[in-house]
Amino acid sequence: MSQRPFDLNGRECFEAFYDAYHRQAFGVAYRLLGRSGDAEDVVQEAFLSAWRSFAVHPPMDGASGRWLLAIVRNRAIDVLRARRRRPEQALDPQVPVAAGYDVPVQAISHMDGERTREALGTLPPEQCEVLELAFFRGLTHVEIAERLELPLGTVKGRLRLGLSRVRRVLLDEREPSRSA
């Protein structure tokens, strides 16, 4: 996603901001929530927040898109956690994790972004698994530990290592000279 500076102190500029980022924002929300209605709610809230916030505190040049996506993800995770608090809508109706189920493979297949898919493909399966549950399912490290029946320290360690390795791969793809 290209990072473009926007002056959001006007309606026309806000429309341009919307036109530039709404697909990415909706993609992130839908990716996490899996339901179009919930994704619309989250994206609407994020854009309204941007409209109100940028008017008084414009972001630094080029940061507005990532600002928006961070808000979309945070709010989508709020929705995911609210769903999990409702017993009748257990953890994830679409992706049950049964014994022997290959979560890492499924995780990779669900992350359609090519760079992300490649980066996750370089991870050991156990790191990929916890990172997917944390990043796209919004599970806390405590919930991941309970779900996978792992010690909390193990989950934290895998997240730390997984995130670091993904970072290296993603940055190397952007700047091949880094690894040369």
Binding site: S36, P59, W67, A70, T140, L170
Partner: protein
């Protein structure tokens, strides 16, 4: 108030990943932020992890919302102000309740902190160098009555500190209380202090809002009940 920072450890680096991923609960998050303020290594790790989260978000394929979504959103943006100057409450499509009065504050603070994190990480990606404890800007509050000074300090990590200097200690049974006010004048509590001299971490970011300090009955009020002693809009 003096803060003692814990020595850096691998557990803190693990916490940085959890922080960037938004996985820490309120208690753990504030504890980590306290450590973060004094640990340059964790500031660097946290900034890198936040950037990684941004890179992953960038790579999520886009999807098109329904055609009417755009016009609906723009209609909400165009909602006229009411005669009392308050903007009509936008229609909320999400029917969530926050856990509590304080919980609502935390969510708003999280969003603002996340936004600053994203900005911070973008700066790093662009080759700019920040440390999380670096001061982005500081705003002196205008004194409306009484002695002393109050300054709000916004740091690159997204946290905000309130520095009170030379205010008399509040009388018995009273406390100083900080508030952030939005454009509609809605006040949210940002902290309660029983000392007129000290540096305090605000419970929520005052960015883009007006920060006020009032004198309230101990242990603190849910709404400001007296005229502000200090007031200023907190913008760069």
């Amino acid at each position: 108030m003096t803060q003692v920072h814990e020595a850096h450890s691998s557990e803190h680096e693990q916490a940085a990943a959890l922080y960037a991923l938004g996985l820490l609960d309120d208690g753990d998050r504030w504890a980590f932020e306290k450590h973060l303020a004094g640990c340059s290594r964790c500031q660097q790790v946290m900034a890198e992890d936040s950037e990684t989260v941004g890179l992953l978000l960038d790579d999520v394929p886009g999807a098109e919302p329904p055609p009417e979504f755009r016009s609906h959103l723009m209609n909400l943006v165009d909602l006229p102000a009411e005669p009392n100057g308050h903007r009509a409450e936008p229609i909320r499509l999400t029917h969530r309740r926050t856990r509590s009065f304080v919980g609502g504050f935390r969510i708003k603070a999280l969003v603002l902190a996340a936004a600053l994190m994203a900005t911070f990480a973008s700066g790093l990606a662009a080759g700019q160098r920040y440390t999380a404890n670096q001061v982005l800007f500081a705003t002196p509050l205008q004194s409306l009555s009484g002695p002393g000074s109050a300054i709000v300090v916004i740091r690159a990590s997204g946290v905000a500190d309130l520095e009170l200097r030379g205010l008399p200690n509040p009388p018995p049974g009273r406390v100083y209380e900080a508030w952030t006010l939005d454009a509609n004048g809605t006040a949210l509590m940002a902290g309660v202090y029983d000392d007129g001299d000290g540096t305090y971490r605000l419970d929520q970011s005052p960015l883009g809002r007006t920060l006020e300090i009032t004198l309230e009955a101990a242990p603190g009020s849910e709404r400001p009940t007296s005229a502000p002693i200090f007031s200023e809009r907190v913008v760069p």
